[in-house]
């Protein structure tokens, strides 16, 4: 949260000003005295709205927006600017203050929606309508009972009344005598359920005794029969017609209908989409179980054909469903790119450089989760570029460059991934300086330099970092990129500039993977880099002092054994003719021997976030259909580094 303090400070100032102005408003006697106050207020709300928008505090943005609307109407004389309006806005200001200070936790405040409704529905000053209680004369519920009802109960009651049903309240008081005859609360409940819908059963406890109140919706207007031992009251007026005259609808219900514009969008919490995604993932797993069961069932070709067809159809439909949910989670990158101009402006000022910011591809849609996780690493890279990459205007002129530097942020879709670039036209990397501050050799190229820059220790050596030109926070950036399942890269041209790039997968969750078994355990390996799967016979392997080689297509491949790489021995012996995966990275190929390749399936990737589990060769874990888990291996890392921690 980079600018939290600045935001809070400025927001507090604005709110203080707003409060003062509002008080002034209530004292102002004439319309002309009020005008400058309105201007001041509108300016303040507008600024606050913009800031809140930058910090993504949507409720505050909404409140400011609607308050502005009200103030404008008041300014034009369409509304009474009286004490009630001022009170309403003062209350809003208090709410805004809480929202601003609750920012780190982003606590949801239920009062916000209440307040927003009141701002919306404020046309004439009216006595305060209770939002979630009975509406006017249509329904009266004793407070003792009413206070136990939840908002969904009220909605059901509203709906029931609109449909012309009767709201009834039944009381049952238990006693030992009745209990002895089998008349207890269960029976009372059953009897009532036969006469209508039970909205809620409320125990009313007084001292040491209890009376149960049952709030009911009945279809018939007459008192339900067979209510021996139960007291029953009708709570609502018998309606003449089921339909309500819109003009007489109590305000709390009208609010819902009238004022909210019908829009084409639905706000969905990302959490709900996550749930759906999880369900889709579970469906994927279930489909595999189905497939497995089918294969093991020994059903013959002809009988099995329709089942197989259905399974395939389900697979296609699941793919479509997965895509649809993924699309629903997509938001444009501008949500995070949009915060850069402000950051750049501040950072440029403090690092004494002039910069022109160029952004490309902000309309690219990415998963919402990506957008959230990108903010920090992008800010780090931007800060680095401005603090270390770009020279001061004087230096630039001396080097024959334009005094104003150029910072380019670009998003380039590449099939299943997206490539995000942060490019500056500054000094470029000083490889020697980097090598020096790392206390070792000069890195041969940008990739090696990047390795050094991303070492955890490097970032703490600020002085060295200044000399070397980069460094603060690079390990954080790499970690963040890795957690997004992506890759961080670097290109540098001394004297001309530097380009950091990230390649990030667009869809994070489901990956086509080979399922392998090794020493009794199962692992998953992404299908991407595997070019071939084969069985290995003993006579195809050649032993050399440097390692093993595998005969392959007239040539030879270096052979690695996963058992060795992982250091597992396990209870299960290595098979005589194990399977191998051919892993390709750029031009290099390696044959990786496992015990068996068990299958190919879509695997739902569950991240392993805890530090205890952080290993470069582990890409997460997944649940297999049968309830067990398989670790997901990053072949690239394993092949290059093994499992050393």
């Amino acid at each position: 949260m980079e600018f939290l303090e600045d935001f809070t400070e400025e927001a507090d100032e604005l709110l203080q000003n707003i409060n003062q102005q509002l008080l002034g408003l209530s004292e102002a006697a004439t319309s002309s005295a009020r005008q400058p106050i309105f201007q001041e207020l509108l300016r303040a709300y507008h600024t606050l709205k913009g800031l809140a928008g930058m910090m993504a505090v949507e409720p505050a943005v909404e409140i400011c927006h609607r308050s502005e609307t009200l103030l404008n109407a008041a300014r034009k004389g369409q509304l009474e600017s009286d004490g009630r309006l001022v009170d309403l806005l003062l209350e809003g200001s208090r709410l805004l203050a809480r929202l601003v200070h609750a920012l780190p936790e982003r606590t949801a405040l239920t009062e916000v929606s209440t307040h927003l409704k009141r701002l919306q529905g404020w046309t004439q000053p009216t006595p305060e309508p209770p939002v979630a209680t009975s509406g006017g004369s249509l329904l009266e519920i004793p407070e003792l009972v009413g206070r136990h009802l939840q908002s969904e109960d009220w909605h059901r009651l509203e709906q029931g009344i609109r449909d012309g049903m009767t709201v009834g309240l039944a009381y049952f008081s238990p006693s030992p005598e009745q209990a002895a005859q089998g008349v207890n609360v269960n029976l009372a409940r059953e009897v009532l359920l036969a006469t209508g819908d039970l909205i809620r059963a409320v125990p009313l406890i007084e001292g040491s005794s209890v009376r149960f109140a049952f709030v009911m919706l009945h279809k018939t207007p007459d008192p339900p029969e067979s209510l021996a031992g139960l007291e029953w009251l009708r709570l609502n007026e018998q309606p003449a017609t089921p339909a309500q005259d819109p003009g007489e609808e109590p305000e709390s219900w009208a609010d819902h209908q009238r004022s909210s514009p019908i829009s084409n969008t639905v706000r969905v919490e990302v959490g709900r989409l996550d749930d759906i995604m999880r369900l889709v993932g579970d469906l994927v797993v279930s489909r595999w179980r189905l497939q497995n069961a089918l294969e093991e069932s020994g059903v013959n070709e002809r009988q099995g054909a329709p089942i197989r067809d259905s399974a395939m159809r389900i697979e296609r439909q699941l793919r479509d469903l997965r895509q649809a949910v993924t699309r629903a989670r997509m938001v444009p990158l501008s949500e995070v790119f949009g915060r850069m101009p402000l950051a750049v402006r501040d950072l440029a000022r403090s690092s004494n450089c002039q910069v022109r910011l160029v952004m490309e591809g902000e309309d690219t849609q990415v998963d919402k989760v990506l957008v959230e996780r990108l903010l920090d690493p992008l800010l780090h890279l931007v800060r680095n570029a401005l603090a270390h990459g770009l020279e001061s205007p004087q230096e630039r002129e001396q080097a024959g460059k334009e005094p104003v530097g150029r910072l380019r942020l670009a998003a380039v879709p590449q099939g299943d991934s997206i490539r995000i670039e942060v490019e500056d036209d500054g000094r470029g990397l000083d490889l020697e300086a980097i090598g020096r501050s790392a206390g070792g050799r000069v890195p041969a190229d940008a990739e090696q330099a990047l390795e050094i820059l991303c070492r955890p220790g490097f970032s703490t050596r600020l002085q060295a970092a200044k000399d070397a030109g980069r460094g603060v926070g690079m390990d954080v950036v790499r970690k963040a990129v890795a957690e997004m399942g992506g890759h961080l890269g670097l290109e540098s041209h001394p004297g001309q500039g530097c380009k950091f790039w990230m390649r990030l997968p667009l869809t994070l969750t489901i990956v086509d993977s080979f399922l392998i078994s090794l020493a009794g355990e199962r692992y998953a390996v992404a299908r991407d880099a595997v070019t071939e799967v084969m069985e290995v016979l003993a006579d195809q392997i050649h032993h050399h002092p440097g390692g093993e080689l595998l005969n392959w297509r007239g040539g030879a491949l270096p052979l690695l054994r996963l058992r060795k790489l992982l250091g597992t021995s396990g209870p299960v012996a290595e098979p005589a003719s194990p399977h191998a995966l051919v892993y390709a990275s750029g031009e290099h190929r390696v044959a990786l021997v496992v015990d068996r390749v068990v299958g190919l399936r879509e695997v739902v990737v569950r991240p392993m976030a805890d530090p205890l589990l952080s290993r470069p060769w582990l890409g997460g874990a997944t649940e297999l259909g049968d309830g067990s888990m398989a670790l997901i291996l990053d072949l690239g890392q394993l092949v290059r580094h093994g499992v050393k921690t």
């Binding site: 250091g567 530090p611 205890l612 952080s614 874990a621 067990s628 398989a630 499992v643």
Partner: protein, 147 residues
């Protein structure tokens, strides 16, 4: 909360340990723990809980004891500490208990060397060692030689 403090009491070998209930997210029986190759001593593996992959730390190992096989009384005490969710494997775990305000005492001299002890609770018939979960989890990252 009232002045009473709530703890989850668990047993390892013959000793009872208490963990602040505020740190405990849930208790689970041990189902399948997936082993992680190349692990250091105390990491038993991982389990999958509520959509999350959670590391399983053997409290036995952390306390310097030998591992034993899981059985029906073994439990995973799922603790949540500053965004981290970790499962502690214990021999058995009993219910949440409320102890009165006077029950907690700082550790006696003899036990001062155990860095993960935050105190003791003395009852009529036994002494319960109160664990500092943050220390338990922290020192493990340090063991790994991380940042």
């Amino acid at each position: 909360m009232s002045e009473k403090s709530a703890y989850v009491v668990c047993r390892i070998a013959e000793t009872s340990y208490a963990i602040d209930a505020a740190d405990v997210q849930q208790l689970e029986m041990v189902d399948t723990v997936t082993r992680v190759p190349g692990s250091e001593e105390a990491l038993d593996g991982v389990v999958y809980l509520r959509g999350q992959v959670v590391p399983v730390l053997s409290l036995r190992r952390r306390l310097g004891l030998e591992r034993i096989a899981y059985d029906y009384s073994s439990r995973l005490v799922i603790v949540k500490v500053e965004q981290r969710v970790v499962a502690l494997a214990v021999d058995s775990a009993s219910e949440f208990s409320l102890f009165g305000p006077g029950a907690w005492q700082p550790p006696p001299e003899a036990l001062k060397g155990l860095s993960y002890l935050s105190g003791v609770i003395t009852l009529q018939d036994r002494m319960i060692l109160v664990l500092d979960v943050r220390r338990l989890l922290e020192s493990d990252s340090q063991h790994r030689g991380d940042e």
